[in-house]
Each structure stands twice: as structure tokens, then as C-alpha cells.
């Protein structure tokens, strides 16, 4: 249905009302389908927090709560037992944007703009049924294609329903899927499902680790959280592998930052081979993960956004495959978190984030320098043996036992732990690295000549050649 514009001369007003198609067609362009679905998951967690049933002091505050996502050629569904949308929010939850007078969100939620659920629905399809049941209310809301195309009607039909014995929660059912979405759910199902699962495994790793259960098309999501190496029993305090840690509180936002190694650093030949041949080590865990109230808004980032390649920190290269960091922002006021409207990115202009980024670079440089110093040594560092791999929760417990030093008179005051990483012995200064490239078939031929096998490590082949000639020179 089209709308006749009012005549500005007659009425002495110009029409500045919002256009529904802007919300339906334009806003949805700014978000990927996967991110829109994650927005719906965010709402589930916000629901748990709103219900007040999560014991936030425990290790598993979300235990017993679940969300199930299913999609097929007919529909998309997300169902949860996360408390439902209560009566007090009914008038606000379906508005396009956040209006004054809306009750305060529960502590720890991430919703700021009041757009996530609607944007996700409009991204997926034209027909939507939302059923919800809370302690004090049970109702359903239906969005139809007619409503979507009617520019004048801004009210969505709502119907009270009978409370059932099912647990309180919300069920969103979307059909008449848009063609691009339908193609992803059918012809591209395998790749889309794998990608979405991986995103939930990484972006929701911290929440799933805290007990929340997510199923995607009946597959249980297994968390893939970053773990950092930590030497719990160092022989000496001035030569140990532990992360750099920084903690601060600024303007109602708590910050926890840790950067270190996820695995032993690769030797230089290994790093080179990784580039030349195959991904012997996966780069997946390297880089920075940024959490806002437990949700990962950035996962394993290796760009300037997280400080790589600026202010003295080298650009990411596979030799830094073992370097990873986590920054956690936590606030009861979600508007103060440095995240974008899609909640899948960092607000790069946030003053708070820029200040934290200085610390990220400071910590990261410690480990990139270490990698550069040690990469010439072909033997694996003994200090990497028998280390514990700690999750962020475990790391926080260990950090409580450490003596942190205050960082005063800096842009962001806080306290930090700076490990004394092992230093190469001075004798290494008399050592130079020899590096050269040869054809694979030639390396294989020399390998066969020297070792009787054709697939000996190229560095071994090169080193043996040198040693043999060195022997000759000493004769």
C-alpha cells in the first residue's frame, strides 16, 4: 500500500515519519544472516539475566538454560527456556528502537538499541510468529507480509494465550523465508550450518562454558574457548611462561586483559613451511578475542583493530601463531560497552577501547618480541614443557594469587602482571641463521643421499649439508 504525501504548503509541515521499508530492507543490509541469528541468541541470554534465576556468583550461572535453533527449507525457529518477555516489556520489546520509559535491563545484558530481534526477523522472512510465556504473562505476536508492506500500520497484532506447564521462554517461528536466506538453508545448507555452528562455538564459548546449552539443528554446540599457557610451578620467577595481565575499572566498566601463548612457539623453519606448504599449525586461535558481558564481539582478530601492525607491534604473521589475547569488558550498563550496533565488532572510536588497546599492544609486544628472539633457536624451549592451559575463568583465579603492580599516571590506571619470559643465552649472539630456498625435488634428492629417505625435514637436510662441508674444511 502506498501513502499519499501531505502537501507541505497546505499543512506547513513536512512529512518526517519513518518508513517501514527502511527498517525492513535497509537495516537488514548492515548485518550478516549469521550475526542476526546470534542477535537472537543474545536475547535468550538477556532473558536469563532478566528472569533473575541465574546465580551469577557461581561457575555455571546458566546451567539448565537452553536455546534450540533449527532451520530448513520451510522455516527458521529459535526456542528457549530463558524466562520469556514479561508484561512490563511487552509494550517496548516490539518497538523499532528503544523508547524512553522502558524498564532498565538486567545487569549483564548487551541490548542497547532495541533493534536486534526485529532486525533478525526482517532479515529472515516475511511471516513471523512469536510466542512467549513469562511468570506474569503469556501471549503471541504475529507479523504477516501484509503488515510488513503496509506503511501506515505500525501496530502488530497481539493475542493473549493460555499459560502452559512448559517452562517460561520464547519461541520465534519465521516462514516465507527470503530467497537468499532460503538458498543458504537448502542448497548451501552444509556450508552455512558449519559456519554458523563455528561462530556459536567461538562467540558463545564463554557462555556455553558457564552452563548454557545451545543446539543447532540438534547438534549440541561445544565451546571453543581460548586457553593460555600458564606456568603454575616455575623453577624461577625470572624465566617463566605466563600471560601478561591487566585489570582496570573505568566508568562502570570492568576490564580484564590477558595475552600470552596458546602453544609452544613454532621454530622459524616451521613457520616458513606453514606458509609454503600447508597449515601445519592452525591460525584459528591466534589473535585477540574481545568479550562484552561474556559475548565475543570479536574473535581471534589479527588486524590493526586489535593493535597488530601499529605502534611497534609487527603485523600478524604465522610465526606468531601461538600468540593470543583476551580482553573482557563487563558492565551493568550495556551502552558503555565498546561494541557496534550489530554486537559483532568493536567500536573503534570508543575512547575506552583506544585506551585498552594501548595495553593490548604493550602486552602483545612482549610475546612477539619473545617469538622473534627465540625463532632462530631450532630446539624447542624447555620452559614450554608441562604448562597448564587455562581458560579465562581459571586464569582469573590464578591471577588472584599473583602480585599485581599498579599502573598509575597513565591514561588508564589499573594494575598489571608482567611475566619475566625466558631470555636467550648471550652465546646466541655469536650465531647467525642461514636460510635459503631450493626446489622440493632437489631437497628430496639430497635428503635421500644423506638420510636414505626423501622426506626428511628441509632444515635437517640443510644443516647436515653445512656440517658435512664444515668437516671437510677442518680436514
Amino acid at each position: 500500500m502506498t501513502e499519499k504525501a501531505s502537501d507541505p504548503i497546505d499543512s506547513k509541515k513536512v512529512d518526517a515519519r519513518p518508513v517501514k521499508s527502511f527498517f525492513v530492507s535497509m537495516l537488514t543490509r548492515d548485518i550478516e544472516l549469521e550475526d542476526a541469528i546470534l542477535d537472537l541468541l543474545d536475547n535468550c541470554i538477556d532473558g536469563v539475566l532478566r528472569s533473575g534465576e541465574a546465580d551469577l556468583t557461581s561457575d555455571k550461572p546458566y546451567k539448565g538454560f537452553w536455546a534450540k535453533i533449527t532451520f530448513n527449507e520451510k522455516c527458521f525457529e529459535i526456542q528457549d527456556n530463558c524466562g520469556g518477555i514479561p508484561k512490563s516489556l511487552r509494550e517496548y520489546a516490539f518497538r523499532m528502537g528503544r523508547v524512553a520509559g522502558r524498564p532498565h535491563d538486567a545487569n549483564g545484558s548487551v541490548g542497547v538499541y532495541g533493534i536486534g530481534m526485529k532486525r533478525a526477523v526482517f532479515k529472515l522472512g516475511e511471516n513471523c510468529l512469536i510466542e512467549t510465556q513469562a511468570d506474569d504473562d503469556a501471549y503471541e505476536v504475529i507479523i504477516t507480509p501484509e503488515w510488513v508492506h503496509n506503511e501506515n500500520d505500525w501496530y502488530i497484532p497481539f493475542k493473549k494465550t493460555k499459560k502452559t506447564s512448559k517452562p517460561n521462554g520464547t519461541h520465534i517461528y519465521i516462514s516465507e523465508l527470503y530467497p537468499g536466506v532460503l538458498a543458504k538453508f537448502t542448497e548451501d545448507k552444509e556450508s552455512f550450518e558449519a559456519k554458523l555452528l563455528k561462530m556459536i562455538e567461538t562467540h558463545y564459548a564463554f557462555i556455553v562454558n558457564k552452563g548454557f546449552s545451545v543446539k543447532l539443528n540438534n547438534t549440541e554446540v561445544k565451546p571453543r574457548a581460548i586457553k593460555l599457557l600458564f606456568d603454575k610451578n616455575p623453577k624461577t620467577e625470572d624465566s617463566l611462561i605466563r600471560p601478561f595481565v591487566f585489570k582496570a575499572k573505568r566508568d562502570d566498566v570492568e576490564i580484564f586483559l590477558a595475552v600470552g601463548f596458546t602453544m609452544p612457539i613454532p621454530s622459524k623453519p616451521e613457520a616458513d613451511r606453514d606458509q609454503m606448504e600447508e597449515k601445519k599449525y592452525s591460525s584459528e586461535d591466534a589473535g585477540w578475542t574481545v568479550l562484552c558481558n561474556d559475548r565475543a564481539v570479536l574473535h581471534s582478530d589479527k588486524t590493526e583493530m586489535t593493535g597488530w601492525g601499529e605502534a611497534g607491534v609487527p603485523r600478524y604473521h604465522t610465526q606468531f601463531i601461538a600468540v593470543a589475547g583476551i580482553v573482557e569488558f563487563r558492565s551493568n550498563n550495556a551502552a558503555k560497552l565498546p561494541t557496534t550496533t550489530t554486537k559483532r565488532g568493536v567500536d573503534a572510536s570508543s575512547q575506552l577501547y583506544l585506551q585498552v588497546k594501548n595495553k593490548m599492544r604493550e602486552g602483545m609486544k612482549l610475546f612477539t618480541d619473545f617469538t622473534n628472539k627465540w625463532k632462530v633457536d631450532l630446539k624447542r624451549l624447555a620452559q614450554f614443557d608441562d604448562l597448564d592451559e587455562l581458560s579465562i575463568a581459571q586464569l582469573k583465579k590464578e591471577v588472584e594469587k599473583l602480585e599485581l603492580n599498579p599502573t598509575k599516571n597513565t591514561a588508564l590506571n589499573g594494575e598489571q602482571y608482567r611475566p619475566f619470559l625466558p631470555k636467550p643465552k648471550k652465546a646466541l649472539k655469536n650465531v647467525r641463521r642461514i636460510s635459503f630456498k631450493k626446489k622440493v625435488v632437489e631437497i628430496e634428492a639430497v635428503s635421500t643421499y644423506l638420510f636414505n629417505v626423501n622426506d626428511r625435514d628441509p632444515s635437517d637436510v640443510g644443516e647436515r649439508c653445512f656440517d658435512e662441508i664444515l668437516k671437510e674444511t677442518k680436514k
Binding site: P179, G180, E193, A194, S282
Partner: protein
């Protein structure tokens, strides 16, 4: 000899002929193979190039071989004058490849590495429309610890080790792994299904249906074990409309397999020449071949009658393509 003895592997030989059968069907439906070139890893004897020359003499062929000694051996075995031998590693050839014509490209790997999937993606992205790409991958994992399946570990330790194994696999192949993988997905009798899904995901990454452009239409998928377990996938890079036509063209062709998720097993029996000659008098036949041939022999060639009937059914399907091995005295 460094290279595997391709010519001594009966199941692979059958798989090679399945490709020929598909191409023959397409040729009968107005595919002009003089517009195509065949590109493959010929091995020392250029067996696949010989076959292509026999059945599609209009097609030129290119062999990619990184080992100079093998190239020299190939020169000795050149089966026809349309063969070009290139002494170059496959990855370099693929990096530099620029499609001048349509092609039938066979990535005939003997291993399973992440770079195999990258190269597969590169090739299906680079070839011209209506080109056919076949890939063979090893469907065994070298580091799959079988003893863990035999209850030698405590349940907790087993779960921990299984998760470590999955993590290692994900670390290498995470870009293509399907949802819902469990440790049992890696058993050697099932792992080929995972590989097929991984290739399907790789193809969807290159040609997302939501982009409404080209797609990778599966033409055949098989698995077999001569020495190692291998998986093969054949498909065509084409438009949606062409994919419908190709499916129609291959309708009823028992050597094609147009749906994902159901790779056909090639498992031909080992029969003596005397047995083969005896059975061939009764071939070809359309229905109940396994049962009839079993009655003809009147004894089991495997442990049970059911197994024997299944293997004889395979023999009936592929008998024309099975090489004869004979001992020749000088």
C-alpha cells in the same frame, strides 16, 4: 618404484572407467570434447592419458609431474601425440593455471592434506563453465588411534583423547568440517562421508547458491580400497540451468551418482581368469546378476553367500573395465 602401482589396482581401474563412462554419456548428448583438454597427474605410465586418448582422441591432455625422473619415464610411455608433459609441482601449476579451454581436471591425490581442499577450490573457481573436475583423496587418517576404540582406556580418558583428536582435526581442516562431527565419524568405514561433506562445503564456499551464479553439480562419488581407502568425487562447474540438463543427460547412467551423501562403493572381487571366462558367457544381464552368477559358480567366493552375491554383482557391473593380470614367461 616411488609412485603407487596404479595399473595394479582393480578398484581404481574401475573408478577411472566410471569417469570415461560419464564422459561418453555426455559426448553422446552433444558435448564436444575437442573443446576440452584433459589435465591430470599421469603417474609413470600415463594410464589415464592413454584411456582419454583411446576414448576421446579429439581431446589433448596435460600431465603434471613434479619429479623429473618420473617425467622422463612418462616420455617413454607417451601413448599418443596429444600428450604434453609438464615438470612442475601441482600447486605451482594450479596457482599459475589460467583456463584457455574447458577441461576435465583430475586432482588425483594419494593423501589427505588441507592444501588439497584449497587446490580443489582454486581449480573449480578457475576452470571454464562446463568443465569437469574430479578429485581423489585418501579416506584414512594416519593418526586415528584404533586402540582407543577397543576399550583400552577409561571412559574419561577416552573422551579426553577423542576431544583432543577432534581438536587436532579441526585445527587442520576446520575451514571445511561439517557440523555434528563426532569421533565415530572418523572410523575408516565412514570417514569417506566426512570427506564428501568437506568437499561439498568447499564447493559451496566457492559457489554459494545465494549468489545465483555457477555451481558445482556432482556427477559421481565413489569410495574403494585397493591398499588404502580412497574417496573420489566428480562434478561439473556449470550454471543452474546447465546442471538440470546434465542431470537429465546422465539420468539412468548407472556409473554416475548425482546426489550428495551416498558415495557408491567399488569393491570388485578377485577372480581367476578361468572363473572370469566362465562368468562372462552369462553377461551382460540386467537383473539379479549377483544371484545368477553365484548360481553359475555354485560356490562362495567370500565368507558368506550374501557377501559373494554382492561382490559378484559388482563384478557384473564392472567386468568390462577390470584388467586381466596374466603371468607371461619370456
Amino acid at each position: 618404484m616411488k609412485s603407487p602401482a596404479y595399473h595394479l589396482r582393480p578398484n581404481k581401474s574401475v573408478d577411472r572407467f566410471r569417469l570415461v563412462e560419464i564422459l561418453k554419456k555426455l559426448k553422446a548428448k552433444e558435448f564436444d570434447f575437442s573443446e576440452y583438454s584433459y589435465i591430470g597427474f599421469g603417474g609413470p605410465f600415463l594410464e589415464d592419458h592413454r584411456l582419454m586418448g583411446d576414448f576421446f582422441p579429439e581431446m589433448s591432455t596435460v600431465s603434471i609431474e613434479r619429479d623429473l625422473q618420473v617425467c622422463n619415464r612418462q616420455e617413454f610411455h607417451v601413448p599418443h601425440k596429444k600428450v604434453t608433459i609438464k615438470n612442475i609441482p601441482a600447486n605451482e601449476f594450479i596457482n599459475d593455471y589460467s583456463a584457455g579451454t574447458k577441461c576435465v581436471f583430475w586432482l588425483d591425490y594419494t593423501n589427505l592434506k588441507p592444501s588439497n581442499f584449497d587446490e580443489f577450490k582454486q581449480i573449480i573457481e578457475k576452470v571454464q563453465q562446463k568443465s569437469i573436475v574430479k578429485i581423489t583423496l585418501r579416506a584414512d587418517l594416519e593418526d586415528y588411534p584404533p586402540e582407543m576404540l577397543r576399550g583400552h582406556l577409561s571412559p574419561e580418558k577416552q573422551t579426553e583423547e577423542e576431544q583432543k583428536f577432534l581438536d587436532r582435526f579441526m585445527a587442520r581442516f576446520g575451514d571445511w568440517t561439517p557440523a555434528g562431527l563426532t569421533y565415530s565419524s572418523f572410523r575408516s568405514g565412514r570417514f569417506f562421508l566426512v570427506i564428501e561433506q568437506m568437499l561439498q562445503i568447499a564447493a559451496q564456499q566457492v559457489f554459494p547458491a545465494s549468489a545465483d551464479g555457477l555451481r558445482f553439480q556432482i556427477l559421481d562419488s565413489t569410495h574403494y580400497s585397493d591398499t588404502s581407502h580412497m574417496f573420489c568425487l566428480t562434478g561439473m562447474v556449470c550454471t543452474k540451468e546447465d546442471s538440470h540438463k546434465v542431470k537429465e543427460n546422465l539420468l539412468g547412467c548407472k556409473f554416475s551418482n548425482l546426489e550428495w551423501g551416498n558415495p557408491q562403493q567399488i569393491d570388485v572381487p578377485i577372480l581367476s581368469t578361468k572363473e572370469r571366462l566362465h562368468l562372462e558367457r552369462h553377461l551382460p544381464m540386467d537383473l539379479g546378476t549377483g544371484e545368477v552368477l553365484h548360481q553359475v559358480l555354485n560356490y562362495n567366493i567370500e565368507n558368506t553367500a550374501e557377501e559373494s552375491i554382492e561382490r559378484l554383482r559388482q563384478y557384473s557391473d564392472f567386468s568390462r573395465y577390470l584388467p586381466y593380470f596374466v603371468k607371461a614367461a619370456p
